[in-house]
């Protein structure tokens, strides 16, 4: 079946093809402390002082690190600090290195949605829902920054609005496993849990029909990394010399991006489906400082994984 591909087994192709495994590996590494699921306890060691790149709840029993979005809100909403410089710095570093490659390869919640998308139900395109993609920037600005920072109580503390009212990953990884094992937490579940469970179920249901609805429309972390797609060291490159304008890359793209026109579009999660689809091997990943003329270079791929 792969006989024809012999000529184009580049690093980019291998990376694109191994994506499912990388996602699984990343989800596992992000949630390394698996026995905690059974104990109903949280890992609280040194790892929790570091942010993971993807959206992964701090309160997941197995979580090895902190969710950058959760940490950002906790710091910005605390009475002690005005702004989360340290976490913003880490987010910028992740963004500059990888951009939304993190969404495509490393984010456990992105993987979760993709697995649900494999369910055999009729699929719908999200092309016509493009305006909704701007919603995630509003979530980032409003729920992650402005509301926690400025809607404060008498002692200067704000609520982590995104975590508290919107994030389905918190319910999936935190509330559900913890409440299954911990009766105290189970007893504390109230209206807020019901609301967020409804969000989770909605996102899960939509994920079966649409490709990654949460990433496209709501995720503030994706929104942040999207701003860095244009400048990140990891980029998509299209060799115009090899491109035969067949349009396969556009048709195969589930994030509604035309890689030939806008290879570094904010919606591109670097999943590499276009890389695999391209019959001439014109599309590839590139990592490093940009040099347009050497666009077919296939080096340094390993650094990004």
């Amino acid at each position: 079946m792969w006989g024809l591909d012999k000529t184009r087994k580049t690093a980019s192709h291998r990376l694109a093809r191994g994506r499912g495994w990388i996602q699984a590996g990343a989800a596992l590494l992000t949630n390394l402390h698996l026995p905690n699921f059974f104990k109903g306890s949280l890992y609280q060691g040194a790892g929790k002082t570091v942010c993971v790149p993807g959206l992964n709840c701090y309160s997941c029993p197995a979580a090895a690190g902190t969710c950058p979005i959760g940490a950002f809100q906790a710091v910005v909403g605390s009475s002690k600090f005005c702004f989360s410089y340290y976490i913003t710095g880490i987010l910028i570093l992740f963004g500059v290195l990888l951009g939304r490659f993190i969404c495509g390869f490393l984010c456990p919640f992105g993987w979760f949605q993709e697995l649900l998308h494999k369910l055999p139900v009729p699929k719908r395109s999200t092309k016509k829902l493009r305006p909704l993609t701007y919603l995630k920037y509003a979530v980032l600005l409003g729920m992650v920054f402005l509301l926690p920072a400025f809607l404060v109580n008498d002692v200067g503390m704000g609520d982590p609005f995104f975590c508290k009212y919107l994030c389905p990953q918190g319910v999936l990884e935190g509330a559900i496993p913890l409440s299954l094992v911990n009766s105290g937490i189970r007893a504390a579940l109230g209206k807020l849990f019901t609301w967020k469970l409804a969000i989770l179920l909605t996102v899960a249901g939509l994920s079966a029909v649409f490709y990654r609805p949460f990433c496209k429309w709501l995720c503030p972390l994706g929104a942040f990394y999207a701003l860095f797609n244009r400048v990140s060291l990891l980029q998509m490159k299209v060799d115009s010399g090899r491109c035969v304008s067949c349009g396969k890359c556009v048709r195969v793209c589930k994030m509604d991006v035309d890689v030939t026109k806008t290879p570094n579009h904010t919606e591109c999660i670097r999943c590499g489906m276009c890389v695999s689809a391209c019959p001439t091997g014109a599309v590839c990943f590139r990592f490093g400082l940009g040099d347009e003329t050497k666009s077919t270079k296939k080096t340094t791929m390993e650094e990004s994984t």
Binding site: M1, G20, W21, A24, F37, F38, G40, S41, L42, Q44, S59, A74, G77, S78, S79, K80, L115, K118, N153, D154, V155, M157, G158, D159, P177, L178, L180, V181, N182, S183, G184, I185, A187, A188, G190
Partner: protein
């Protein structure tokens, strides 16, 4: 393509299995049985039945209060061995003109469930005569609040034994300074402390940031307490001690424990702020239970 699908299928199966494993384990713990010893199972069943009954009675307190008011004259019935559920049903029937149809239906349904629970309890008691004591007073598996020797935020020495034995009930609230819901309930906790003082009880706070006497954390905690007008005692101790290790198993804040005069935990810890009615009611019920046990 086939390989990809197969991989996806395998991974999905793995996830489902992982979740299933979680669920099974969780359910085991719910029962609180753990061991295979029959008495323990029976005790667990007994406990959960009793809890369910209390839950039913605490669901619509206002309605039940009316029922109990109507029952005053015939209260001797409770002691004579009649099923408590029957007693409730009779009382509801005799006072039915005080309720709407919906309320009646609700009360009767609850009373019927209580009757079934009581039947089961009686059966269990027959098989395991030691049960009622164990389940109500918690003698069978009492859990002690971990002992500590520490200081309050003003530097006065505090010993857990002395603290608990001096009070009919001690409410212990775990919080930390940057926890919004924790800070949100401080003034309510202060009011509760004043109320408890009248009944020979007390409330203390344990701010997890102040453990080991971190001075900056103590100053911040004091500032927040002052802003919220909370004057009750806040205590810290060594994080390596028994109580310090106990804290590493608290994953949700605020968490509030009720401790009786003997230093035993009363009921399950209350997770979440008592500014929520549900938490406040549960806490009050445990306090009342501890005070009643202390007097009785």
């Amino acid at each position: 393509m086939k390989r990809k699908q197969l991989t996806a299928l395998l991974l999905a199966a793995l996830m489902v299995l992982a979740l299933a494993a979680c669920g099974a384990k969780g359910d085991n713990k719910t029962d609180g049985s753990g061991g295979a010893v029959q008495t323990e199972d029976a005790a667990a069943t007994y406990k959960s039945l009793t809890e369910r009954e209390n839950e039913l009675l605490s669901e619509h307190t206002d309605l039940w209060d009316k029922v109990f008011l109507a029952a005053d004259k015939g209260s001797a019935m409770i002691e004579d061995g009649t099923n408590y559920g029957d007693f409730l049903l009779n009382t509801i029937e005799s006072a039915k003109d005080q309720f709407t149809e919906d309320e009646l239906a609700l009360l009767k349904k609850s009373a019927q469930e209580i009757r079934e629970i009581e039947d089961k309890l009686t059966e269990l008691e027959a098989q395991h005569p030691e049960l009622p004591d164990g389940a109500t007073n918690g003698n069978s598996d009492v859990e002690k609040f971990p002992s500590f020797e520490g200081k309050d935020l003003d530097g006065n020495a505090v010993k857990s034994d002395e603290l608990f034995s001096a009070n009919a009930v001690t409410v212990v609230n775990f919080w930390f300074t940057t926890c919004n819901p924790c800070v949100g309930e401080l003034s309510q906790l202060d009011a509760l402390n004043q109320e408890l003082a009248k009944k020979g009880g007390a409330l203390i706070g344990i701010n997890t940031f102040t453990l080991d006497g971190d001075e900056a954390a103590i100053a911040e905690a004091k500032e927040v307490l002052a802003k919220k007008g909370a004057t009750y005692q806040n205590v810290y101790f060594d994080s390596n001690g028994e109580a310090g290790k106990f804290i590493t198993n608290i994953f949700a804040y605020p968490t509030t424990y009720v401790v009786d005069r003997n230093g035993n935990l009363v009921g399950e810890p209350i997770v979440g702020a008592i500014t929520e009615p549900k938490q406040a009611e549960t806490l009050q019920a445990l306090i009342d239970q501890a005070i009643a046990a202390d007097q009785g």
